[in-house]
Symmetry: C2
Subunit: 444 residues, 2 copies
């Protein structure tokens, strides 16, 4: 991943809120998203501090030229798919220009500041939407820690399935039910088998979250035409946080051909797409496989991917219960993990996904799988934290939980931090559990 002047730690913005220590959106980040204000149609923007830089307004004001202008025009559609589809050179050009425009040291600073009311929309006044039309959603299983903790209960002799170390295991998810952060998630109805062997149907009783990183595909491929792992990094546009809501009771019972209704109830993602370019300073070596594990097969191996395929990204999950909300208590942290714990890199995931010739399209989304690490505090779903519901846990305010209850809100945050670089974040991935719908009455 190439570093350039847009990554310099000493860059500051004339948008003052972008210079605070704790903002997720300093000028080094520049993530893309789609936003809407009351009564207006959705348009593309870039997060900067607590503001949204309005790409359409900036285009109209003539602030872009050449490749950067072309890229900004691609972003002016009803979603970011066309921008995602572009050559990474275009992304670089747009990023450089955005960095110049928003920099404090900037020949046009006076003029831009004067136009601030046109160019900037306060995040507080906008509704964020899904950044892309997500044509397909795939969910991987790439943390060996998550896999092993789950497997210890069901397959104690061999907790990690045999293919895990040879390929990034995945299943097709449901794209229609991917939703933007903030939208409530209805507890699903579903079927399960009780410990006594009775099969029942009703509101799911073991609702869980899974803390994942989502990856948006950039340029796609034609059916029947795989790509090499050397090419894969150029096909990745950016990342978001992803909550792969899971109905565990349903999942255990239904999964003869993998998870289905236990997952398609909804998937929540954070709305700002943090680009691969913004994360360049935070790349890390691929997972260090323990002695005895097989090396990746040649189609999943490149020296560059081994050297910098990982991402050093801290990931946190919080729970906010109705009682915490009413008492004004802050959300309780349930998990703290890092994406370096993943056994497979995102380039390996994408290369494997396309290896049979399966065609992917710009805006296609894949989840990393639960991002658990080796420590107890790295457990990134309730099923791990409660050993599949066997032990409840106590929250700081004395409440206990085993699974999610109605009204509970799950919040993910992420932060890339590295000495010598400005930290960047993802904003929130947040959703509240709503009660399950009544079963529909038959037509009379």
């Amino acid at each position: 991943m190439q570093l350039n002047e847009t990554h310099r730690a000493d860059l500051r913005s004339w948008v003052e809120s972008a210079n605070t220590v704790d903002t997720d959106f300093p000028i080094q980040n520049l993530p893309f998203g789609m936003f809407r204000r009351d009564g207006e149609s959705a348009r593309a923007g870039v997060a900067i501090g607590d503001q949204i830089f309005d790409l359409t307004a900036a285009l109209k004001a003539g602030l872009f030229e050449a490749e950067a202008e072309e890229a900004a025009r691609l972003a002016a559609g009803p979603a970011l798919n066309d921008l995602m589809a572009a050559d990474p050179k275009m992304h670089t050009a747009l990023r450089r220009r955005l960095s110049q425009l928003l920099a404090a040291e900037n020949p046009d600073r006076e003029r831009l500041s004067a136009m601030a009311s046109t160019l900037l929309v306060p995040m507080a006044d906008a509704q964020l939407e899904l950044p892309a039309v997500i044509g397909s959603f795939t969910d991987f299983l790439t943390s060996i820690y998550h896999t092993e903790r789950g497997g210890r209960v069901t397959r104690p002799d061999s907790p990690v399935p045999a293919p895990f170390r040879y390929l990034p295991i995945a299943y097709n998810g449901r794209a229609t039910s991917v939703r933007a952060s903030g939208e409530p998630v209805r507890r699903p109805n579903g079927q399960w088998r009780t410990a006594e062997g009775k099969v029942e149907f009703g509101p799911c009783r073991q609702l869980d979250f899974e803390l994942e990183l989502g990856t948006f595909v950039g340029r796609g491929n034609e059916l029947g035409e795989p790509i090499s792992i050397e090419e894969a990094p150029d096909r990745i546009f950016g990342f978001c946080l992803l909550n792969d809501w899971s109905a565990r009771d349903v999942q255990r019972w239904e999964s003869a051909l993998g998870p289905f209704l236990s997952k398609s109830l909804s998937t929540t993602i954070s709305c700002w797409v943090v680009t691969a370019q913004a994360l360049a300073p935070f790349r890390a070596p691929a997972f260090a496989r323990p002695e005895g594990d097989p090396a990746p097969l040649p189609y999943l191996y490149s020296a560059r991917d081994q050297a910098e395929g990982g991402i050093d990204l801290n990931l946190h999950a919080y729970l906010l219960t109705p009682r915490m909300r009413s008492e004004g208590t802050p959300a309780a942290r349930l998990c703290r993990t890092n994406f370096v714990h993943m056994y497979w890199t995102v380039a390996q995931m994408l290369t494997h996904h396309m290896s049979n010739g399966c065609n992917m399209r710009p805006g296609d989304l894949f989840g990393s799988g639960t991002t658990s690490g080796p420590l107890d505090e790295n457990r990134a779903c309730l099923s791990e934290i409660t050993t599949r519901g066997a032990q409840s846990f106590t929250l700081p305010n004395g409440e206990t939980r085993t699974w999610l209850e109605d009204g509970d809100e799950v919040i993910f945050r992420a932060r890339a931090e590295r000495a010598g670089y400005r930290s960047i974040g993802f904003g929130e991935c947040r959703a509240r559990v709503a009660p399950s719908p009544p079963w529909p009455k038959p037509k009379s």
Copy 2:
């Protein structure tokens, strides 16, 4: 399912080829599809004998009015999704009017015959395309015979997985790789484990077909809002034949969370959508569950679905090898089965799919799973026919096969037949196996 005058066996068309005994497309069928002629954009048509009735031309000629006109306009988009989304009353109105227009006994017959060159396009001159933008594809597993034959090898003590009799098992498929009949299917590259325990990657060596029925969803549902089984039949627009190509060596190895790359290589469908209304005369009781099997849970049970949820539809699979082609031998039949063998009805599949609130959209497609029945001749994939590759079989010309070879062509046909009614068919679902692509070279 309501029968009306469009189903009358004595109806004949002024399009003479629709009156032959063996046509799939008599006037009682009237399936919808999208077709294209050289240099023109795709448009909607209705199959009648060996002709396509051009809906756009008929609209321009003012042949529709009221609800039928509205429905024909919905079909005039770039795909049939809007027509599928309409109220079934509109489908009925359009079907009645098409039946009148194409009937031999018809006050306007002279005028229509005179316009034949405008209204009709010979099928031989047109290219058929996918009938809808298929936003999602789901694949079920609902033949207990297919399931049991597969399970006997892997789980001899309990060949049918526990949930099979309680819910229609399914997994999310890949919608981007669904292709129209006629497009070749490239042998995929993939990963498998050999009998000696070695993990390899290369062109799949156990390529198989699966003979399935596909169902197109009509009106969809909102996320979080399931529908009742009484409502489900009104949400089903129509049907096609579906070849769920399967890389068996890959499937056995990768399927920790269900099939993934072993299936997403491609899925071929026939291009004419035979409507639920056209199949009304061929409905049958739901599968007669053997003594001791559980009754469907209440959310999957309705008296009407039990009485007429099945479909009496004969399904055939053929193989045409390169040698047969060069020798002019006809394709060899590999399978002859019937959709009445399916354990679950399409209404049960759809109701279950939406039961967790998963939102489906018009044009969403689901496959029934391999449609095998109890007899040897009912085995609807090679894995069953060869007992998972253990026995090869001999074709009429003396060739043998275990799995599909490059150049082999798989052809599905279907025919609904019932005393007192005119038989209808689906046209072909056909595709040839092309060699696997060379693995892409890394960028230099």
